[in-house]
Symmetry: C2
Subunit: 321 residues, 2 copies
Amino acid sequence: MAERVLAGDRRAVARAISWVEDSADGLPALSEALYPNSGRAYTVGLTGSPGVGKSSLAAALVGAARARERTIAVLAIDPTSPFTGGALLGDRLRMQSHATDPGVFIRSMATRGHLGGMALAAPEAIRILDASGKDLIVVETVGVGQSEVEVVTATDTTLVVVSPGWGDAVQVAKAGILEIADVFVVNKADREGADDAVRDLHQMLRMGPKQAWTPPVVRTSTVTGDGIDDLWAAVERHRDHQESAGELARKRRARVFAEVQGMVAERLRRRVANILDGGSGEALAEDLAERRIDPYRAAALLLERMTDDDDTERTAGERDA
Amino acid sequence: MAERVLAGDRRAVARAISWVEDSADGLPALSEALYPNSGRAYTVGLTGSPGVGKSSLAAALVGAARARERTIAVLAIDPTSPFTGGALLGDRLRMQSHATDPGVFIRSMATRGHLGGMALAAPEAIRILDASGKDLIVVETVGVGQSEVEVVTATDTTLVVVSPGWGDAVQVAKAGILEIADVFVVNKADREGADDAVRDLHQMLRMGPKQAWTPPVVRTSTVTGDGIDDLWAAVERHRDHQESAGELARKRRARVFAEVQGMVAERLRRRVANILDGGSGEALAEDLAERRIDPYRAAALLLERMTDDDDTERTAGERDA
């Protein structure tokens, strides 16, 4: 499986991402085999309110990448359901023109059984696409929910998309996604109100703290194709900025370290949940409510039981070995 | 110490809350001793943007409680610093008239050393005030930050305060605190724009989902004293509503259970942090960055080390015993 992913086999890549969605048993071994071959791809996050044209923009980035002879993957994050209707189906149709291009891989992804949620699942899927040899990986979200924002900020460059009318600059401020943008995109720039959106974003940026990198505001139209080259150039400039300052390596290092801490926290949380399932949680809640046990002692008891369970697991493991 | 708190000794209560702030060693024993005597007080959370008059409203509630011969404590949550300047000092001056009243206890609180943050510290402080015999406990926040919202929603009735001009209805929507209100308070209702604020809130409530309890919108003025009795009555109605439906006991039970899970998660997080401190975290980050180890194995290693540390701790404990 790992070999086929590394060779860029489309069906193997698709299956590996399904493994991530389902937290399949084979995943840790696959992850271990792929990891040394990851880290070459550049990752771009794409977020913004529904309706601003993120999918069309992703399709435009696919075209821009192929025109530059770069390979590209698009991972569309769907936090709710494995089978979304309109939006993602629409993407796929729009990207049909790339359907037979081996340099392009498009995939939507849900967290069907991945217990760590999208925040832990997405980086794994990105690493699979990375190891499969794609130069650029675009991660697109449906909306601007908290878990989606978490996912797109765990990329090298985060694009925040607005469009006149739909989710303009004020929406960006309300959604709390002003701070996460490395590049702002005012899409549907052929429409009325685009100037206002650009001006509002510049004004909000002036009000914020001075930073080493000021997010540029790029106007695009996926209808006319205007501004797509500017967007590509803005991403490249951000990449150069980060690479020259050593920032990119630092960010990536911090990201994978945080991911491991997230994995540990998730596994511990699951152990606690296992202990609390099966009646003992109910009994503990009852003891707390009846004031037979205080919160400190209840917490200490749970921690003790976790350690006991560890011993049981390990003894079982040793017996098997 | 526990006996003095139970007797309502002001200095002991103040000191016990300082213990909470500092995560003092004596805290678990104190918590255990006080817990059987908690659960009698009714708790009210008070939140809203800075400047809407929360402190004046808390002072008005103190007056209303004393007029009804109820004892009351006000806990002002300060998420940032143990020594805030203007705002909290202002409160204290305004509440001076109650300074010598043994039925009133006012205290601001920060998380100086409490590792679980305000979300874990506040319930402990509330239990101390509860065990000290106060009938009503008002928890007031400085602003509407995430941790502050967490704290005020962990009360029996949550008041969301707005005022015309400062943080009106739109601010409430932006801050995401529309959903947490059991009662809306339009304070400074003598000012222009109060009618608009009331109307906007009613409109937002109509747009939301139908619920068993519809938050009333109460107009108050702490200058004229208008509406304070209405506010008191609204809180009583919400209390009756919850008590008649068995909701209050359910909410409280779920709250303390969630608190225990939070305590366990916090202690586990700290164990992981301890392992990662002292160089081994740096080494692990390096191994990950250099791709000598993959995230799955890194997480497994950390979990193993945690279990080993448990054994060491326990062995040491057994030796001591």
